[in-house]
Symmetry: C2
Subunit: 219 residues, 2 copies
């Protein structure tokens, strides 16, 4: 057993070192970067699709899409107007890691972009354990998942910088108590920046777009 | 690297052996058992809540609920009328394994039950790699997750015995093409038994309940 644990620790240490290298490359190129994590179907790809047209002419955006199979997501990002998109197929792995992101960065001329959006594999647990080197981790929650998710996935909710609450257009149709959800979030991650929005109706997008632009200009 | 791979293989082999022991214990007691896997928020716990009252007086049911934190799920199963419920907190682990289920079985007098419902951790990827020893794996999909999920999580969809499509009451409000979803399912898992239903309206429950009763009586 101690041997197994030391192998796992070594992998995590190696990952953290590579994440720092990725960060240094992004910083050197002046690229602000976000890591989108979420349950399957919370709407990461839809969020990217709705975000890209709103940034057109204001920020040059590259999208890196991680998935265990298919290039459906990077196809959607490209169709939505990403200035470049790269698909990472993890081959069954349940999360992106810093090595995978390094491979994607190798395929991009970072000097051509202001913002890099990384879409992690749909999984609310494992991606939280692997740093990529991005500047901010953004959790995309969604209303139909239920209002108990902060309580059930505390490590993930505690570790993120920003929270998008997607699918607020479904609030009339599902039993979701926003105050109960928000109490759970605030207990774990006080003051976390939160954007309730809908990728279907467009409601709530102004604050999210402004946050992306302001953070990108700071970088 | 070869050393790392061999450690992982040894863990999986050990898990499979323990899964067989779990199965033998369940068979000896005449208990039919299912392993519910799903994304976070697809409705595993709600499905259990709506299933238990419909089995009352017909089957004696034990529920084992796996989660990375809290006992919210087993509390809900107990409140819904489970004859016994056991919570497994995985302590951050992203899936149940056969050791954890063995620990739960140790806490149950299996001769007192007909059906064991195991609720896995909310995760569409990792639980598919760890056998528990249960008789059938049931995937709970949900309409708001989107119709592309079979295409994006093929290993999970391919490996299950039964598919529940939950939240069909939301079909009027989300862009979900049932035919596209079903084509993806059938390509990966031809003839898989499928139950579209809603835990809110109760629509579609008759077939699901009948399937549980028939399979339990066969055991």
């Amino acid at each position: 057993m101690p041997q197994t644990i030391s192998v796992v620790e070594n992998i995590l240490n190696a990952n953290d070192r590579l994440a720092e290298e990725n960060r240094a490359r992004l910083d050197a190129a002046g690229v602000f970067s976000i890591n989108l994590i979420a349950s399957p179907g919370a709407g990461k790809t839809s969020l990217i699709e709705q975000t890209l047209p709103r940034l057109k002419g204001r920020l040059r955006v590259a999208a890196v899409d991680g998935d265990i199979a298919t290039s459906l997501d990077s196809d959607r990002a490209a169709a939505a107007g990403a200035d470049a998109s790269v698909q990472i197929n993890t081959g069954g792995e349940c999360h992106l890691d810093a090595v995978m992101l390094r491979g994607a960065l190798d395929r991009l001329d970072l000097t051509q972009f202001d913002l890099l959006i990384v879409e992690n594999v749909g999984n609310l647990i494992c991606p939280a354990n692997f740093k990529l080197g991005t500047h901010k981790t953004v959790l995309v929650a969604s209303v139909p998942e239920g209002d108990d998710k902060p309580y059930k996935y505390p490590a993930t909710y505690r570790g993120v910088d920003t929270l998008v609450i997607n699918k607020i257009d479904l609030l009339p149709y599902v039993p979701f108590r926003m105050d109960y959800f928000q109490r759970g979030v605030q207990a774990l991650n006080p003051g976390v920046v939160t954007f309730p929005l809908s990728c279907i109706t467009g409601e709530g997008f102004d604050g999210w777009i402004q946050w992306l632009i302001e953070n990108t200009r700071k970088e």
